[in-house]
Every structure is written in C-alpha cells, then in structure tokens.
C-alpha cells in the first residue's frame, strides 16, 4: 500500500500527470467539455463561455500575482485595453479574429510591461496602488479617446468570421473560446516547468536571493507582466466578441477585484486553482439568481437585492478563504484527495 508521495527524480517531480489514469481522465474530460454545445441550452452555454473567458483571465492574473508575487489591481484596465484594441482592429481594419485576438494580446502585453517598469523600484502595496491608479487613468483615457474607443457610447463589435463561416452562435463561440482557453492553460502549466517560470517563482519567494542566483529581476518581472497581460488582453478581446458591445462601463474596478477573488478562492500560485476560482466566481451570481428566483414566491423583494447579495457572498467568501484556507480550493481539493488516498490509515 502506498503511504505517501515519494519522488526520486526531478523528472518525476516535474511531471504534469502523476499517473496514466490522470492523463486518460483529462482526455475524457476534454471530450466531455467539447461535447457540451451539443446538448446544453443557449443560456447555459453563455455562462459556460463566460467561465472560459474568466479562466483565461484568471490564469493570466495568477501568473503575475500568484506566481511572481506582483499584486495588480489593474487587470480590469488591461482587459479593457484588450477589448478595445480588438474592437478597434476589427471595426476599423476589418481584421479577422484570428489576427485581432493575438494582436490585442500583444498590445495589452506591451502596455502591461510599461506599467510593470516601476515594479522594480516599488513593490508590494505601492505596486498595488500604482496599478489601481493605472486603472483609473486608463478608464479616463478610454472615455476621452473617442476616435478609437467610441467614448462613453462604446464600440459594437462585428461578428467574428473565418472566411464566410460566421461565429454567430453561443455554440460556435464556445469552441472558439475554449480552444483558446485550453491552449492558454496548457501553456501556463508548462511555463512553470521552464527556466522562465522558475525565475518567476524565485522572484516571488525571495527577490534578493533570486538576484544573487543570477535571475535578472527587471527582465523577468517585465516578462511576467507581459505574459500576464497578454492573457488578460486575450480574455478582454474574447469579452468583446462575446458581449458584442463594449463600453468603458464593461470593465469597472469590481472586475479587477472579482478576478483577484478568483485566484484567492481558487488558489494563489496554482493553475488548477485559477480554473476552480474562475468557475466558482462566475457561477456564483448565476446560482444566487436561481436561488432568489425560486424563493421569489415567498420573498418577492429578494430579486432587487441580487447585486448586493452577490457582493456580500463574494466578500464573505474571500474573507473566509483567506482566514481558513489561504491556499484556496486547489489546496483543499489536494488535501481531500490525499486523505482518501490513504484512508483509513492517514497518519
């Protein structure tokens, strides 16, 4: 009987799947995932699509905040930049989505790296404040730069097309979003098996020691900002395609807080955790909506309080997780799994 995880080589430690079963399970899960559009009604698929976008964004933020330890409150602004560059490229230049999405990612990444430059000098809470300030400044610019962003009225985004094939339904969007999401997750998972990813983690754990060990801190911090904002920018571009109309109000500061909540609840420094968190936080308002609609017979005033309820539950969850399970759902899942693996002889 196995009594614990004992790895004897670095290769074993670095492997993504601990066993063949895990690999098969993942393939099975992906098949299940991509069969969703065939039997899921449209309104549910819309939620699933939003989950997919949230996963990309949350993984991106986790790369910066969870793995590199740079707190960013500016990711709603990054997302807005991604969305508006995508909107601008696709309306003004009729760019097809397979160019406009990566390009908006690149635009956001360069902006993210620009915001990241001061991160060498300022850290921790100063960085949090600087990114927060960046958020409000970007918001202001988006409202004012009407020739590009459409100002307060916003932009309406054309339907993405491959040749003549229009991606116009939730099911088609689903495929587009989830292909990108799966690629994004795979890339992130592998990133942390490389030198670059390890440099990120080293900067988070002990920046000074990392520098002593030969990690160029500025380079890797900027790289982390770049990769992270690329992800967030892509997520923003997808939001644009999904929402079809974007305005400055699509990306308020609460979006940034929601994303931070995702990675806190899911698990800082865990790719799997970002996925859990994204799923959970996106589902939360929908679950509450279902709950309140079903209770509306007895408490008719509940529906008006939905927004407040969502915020209450969200805030309470963030607090509870931080106090009782600071490593998030991913860690909790891990310990539950280990408990049953060794049941009834754990310890």
């Amino acid at each position: 009987m196995r009594c614990g995880d004992f790895k004897t080589s670095y290769t074993a430690d670095m492997t993504i799947f601990e066993s063949r079963t895990a690999r098969i399970m993942l393939v099975f899960f992906l098949c299940l995932l991509f069969s969703l559009p065939f039997y899921t009604p449209g309104f549910l698929l819309d939620i699933v699509n939003r989950i997919g976008i949230a996963i990309i964004g949350a993984v991106g933020l986790n790369i910066l905040t969870g793995f590199t330890g740079q707190i960013s409150l500016g990711n709603a602004a990054f997302m807005a930049i991604g969305a508006f560059s995508c909107g601008y490229l696709s309306t003004k230049f009729n760019m097809p989505f397979y160019f406009s999405i990566p390009l908006s990612g690149v635009i956001t990444a360069s902006f993210g790296m620009f915001v990241g430059i001061p991160s060498l000098r300022i850290k921790g809470l100063y960085l949090a404040m600087a990114t927060l300030a960046a958020h409000f400044i970007v918001e202001f610019i988006i409202v004012k730069w009407e020739s590009v962003t459409g100002g307060v009225a916003g932009l309406s985004i054309p339907t993405p097309k491959i040749g003549d094939f229009a991606i116009d339904s939730d099911a088609k969007l689903f495929v587009m979003i989830f292909v990108i999401a799966v690629l994004a997750v795979l890339f992130a998972k592998n990133l942390f098996r490389t030198k670059v990813g390890k440099a990120f983690v080293a900067i988070r754990d002990q920046a000074i020691s990392a520098e002593v060990m030969g990690v160029n801190i500025l380079k890797y911090k900027l790289l982390s900002f770049g990769v992270s904002s690329f992800y967030v920018g892509v997520a923003g571009a997808l939001v644009a395609y999904q929402a079809k109309i974007i305005s400055p109000e699509t990306f308020p500061i609460t979006v940034a807080i929601d994303y931070l909540g995702m990675i806190i609840i899911g698990g800082l420094g865990s790719i799997l955790g970002s996925i859990y968190g994204a799923v959970f936080i996106t589902l939360l308002p929908e679950l509450l909506r279902m709950l309140t609609t079903s209770l509306s017979g007895t408490f008719p005033e509940l529906i008006n309080k939905l927004a407040a309820m969502k915020e209450l539950v969200f805030g309470a969850l963030v607090i509870i997780f931080l106090i009782f399970e600071p490593n998030g759902m991913a860690a909790r899942w891990h310990s539950i799994k280990n408990y049953w693996k060794l049941y009834p002889f754990s310890h």
């Binding site: 209450l312 931080l322 106090i323």
Partner: protein, 297 residues
C-alpha cells in the same frame, strides 16, 4: 485669472481635503501600527455616515450626541473587524491582507445596500445653511464647521498620541513590536485600538460629508480609494503627511476640476489625484514625510 474663482476653488479644496486628511489619518494609523493596508477605509466612512443618519432621523437627539454614539458604534465595528478578520492574518502575505480588506469592503457595501438601498438619502441639516462672507467670496457655514471639526479632531488625536499612556504605547508598538511587547504593552490591544480610532475618524469624515452634500449614498465608499493618493503623497507612515497630503490633493482635485475639466470635457477632477499618485511613486516613492526603507540582504 479670476481671483474669486481661484479662492473659491481653494476653499472647496481645503474642505474636501480636510476630510481626505481625516480618512487618510485613519489609514495611516492602521498602517503604522499593524502594517496592514486598509482598503475598506471608505466603507468605514460610509457606515459611519449611515449610522449617524439612522440615529438622527429615528431618535430626535442633538447632533453632537448622535456623533458620539456613532463614534461608539464605529469603534466597536473597528475592534470586531480587527479581532475577527485581521488578527488571524497577522504575519501572512501582503496580498492576503490587501484582499481581505477588499473582501471586507464588499461585505460592508453589500450590507449597507441591503439595509438602505442605493438611493441617495437626504441628510438632516445640522449646520446653518446661510453663507458667511469671507473677503470677496461667500462660504457656506457648513464648510467652516467641517474644517473646525476636522481641526479639533486632529488636535485631539495629536495630543492623544503625545500625552496619553495608550497613545504613547501605540507609538511604541509602531516603532518596534518586539520592544513594545517586552515593555509589557499588549500589542494585540494596540492593534484593536488603532482599528477603532481609524473607524472613528473615518466615521467623522462620513458625517461631515453627509452634512456638506446634504445626502448620502453608496458613492461615499469611493472616498476610500481617493485617500490612496493622499497617503502616498504624505508618506504611508506619517500622520502629518496624511494631513498635508489631504489638503494638497483636495486643492489639486478642485483645481483640475476648475481649470482642466472645461478643456477636456469633464472627468479630470476624478483622475487627477491618480496621475499625481503615479508621479509621486516615480519621483518620491516614500512621499513627503515617509520613512525611507532600505533593504539589506
């Protein structure tokens, strides 16, 4: 340049700035004592304003009594929050502390919204409304009372930190927790007191804003974010910095509202403090009065 307009802007700036200074003081007190960044400061302000409103409208009692009761409630709220939420997180990573205060702000905002809704509720008129003539410009009496209240509170706070035993103990805790502990100071108690004081000064800010604006709503909570440029300008660990920073940012905000808004078409007033924040971080990251931290391996 129109001098009257300029003076008007300065006076408005000083009034708003003095409230910023108040809230920033609470922020700095918490940061100094516990090294926690309290992003829920604006919600403390909002909760204080709503409590005071509730007391004033439900029980017809004099304003100053209502303020004292509000202070008591706010202090209690601060202590409870410190005990239940912040204390378990002592020593944990910075992002946890930042996030927990963000979560807290969500909860407080939601509770107020559940209790009072999102509409603006008129705040009872406390100060006489007819303006006084100062030189060439008329100034609302409420403004003068607000500045007076802030000044009194700041003087009280300063003397509290300077002369009272608890105040001195709090300063000791801020300068070195270990030494404070070995001198028999209960550091936990000091943490709780600093949260209570921060909640009280923010509540005062909320009440004053309510009386000046004549009504309160959820937007009061944004004051918490407005305070960030203030504390960065003044230095995160300096109370004098918070006061000077508050006044400067208040005036800056009104200047950009008065002179830039007509040019760019609105919005400059809101964004100017954040531009200032970025510039300060670039050129003087520890602010005007902040202590420089030197990192050594």
């Amino acid at each position: 340049m129109d001098v009257t307009f300029l003076l008007q802007l300065i006076i408005n700036g000083l009034v708003v700035g003095s409230i910023y200074a108040l809230v920033a003081t609470g922020f700095v007190i918490i940061y100094k004592a516990t090294s926690a960044l309290n992003l829920a400061q604006g919600e403390f302000l909002m909760v204080g304003a709503y409590i005071c409103l509730n007391i004033l409208t439900k029980h017809q009692i004099p304003f100053w009594q209502a303020v004292l009761i509000t202070f008591a409630f706010s202090a209690l709220l601060g202590v409870i929050i410190e005990r239940l939420i912040l204390r378990p997180l002592i020593g944990s990573h910075l992002i946890s502390v930042i996030m927990v205060t963000l979560g807290l702000s969500s909860v407080l905002k939601a509770l107020i919204q559940l209790a009072y809704g999102t509409d603006t509720i008129p705040f009872p008129e406390v100060f006489p409304s007819d303006p006084v003539q100062i030189g060439p410009i008329p100034v609302s009496q409420g403004y003068l009372y607000a500045i007076a209240c802030v000044t009194i509170l700041v003087v009280l706070l300063t003397s509290f930190f300077k002369y009272s035993k608890i105040g001195v103990a709090m300063r000791a805790t801020a300068s070195s927790q270990q030494v404070a502990l070995s001198m028999g100071i209960s550091v936990k108690m000091m943490f709780a007191i600093s949260w209570a004081i921060a909640a009280i000064v923010s509540a005062m800010g909320g009440i004053l804003l309510g009386t000046i604006r004549g009504g309160i709503d959820m937007s009061l909570s944004f004051m918490g974010l407005k305070v960030l440029p203030v504390v960065i300008l003044g230095g995160l660990d300096s109370i004098i910095g918070a006061i000077v920073g508050g006044l400067v940012i208040g005036i800056l905000e009104n200047f950009s509202g008065g002179y830039l808004d007509p040019v760019v078409g609105g919005g400059a007033k809101e964004v100017a403090p954040y531009v200032a924040l970025i510039l300060i971080l670039m050129f003087k990251p520890y602010g005007l009065f902040g202590k420089k931290k030197i990192e050594r391996v």
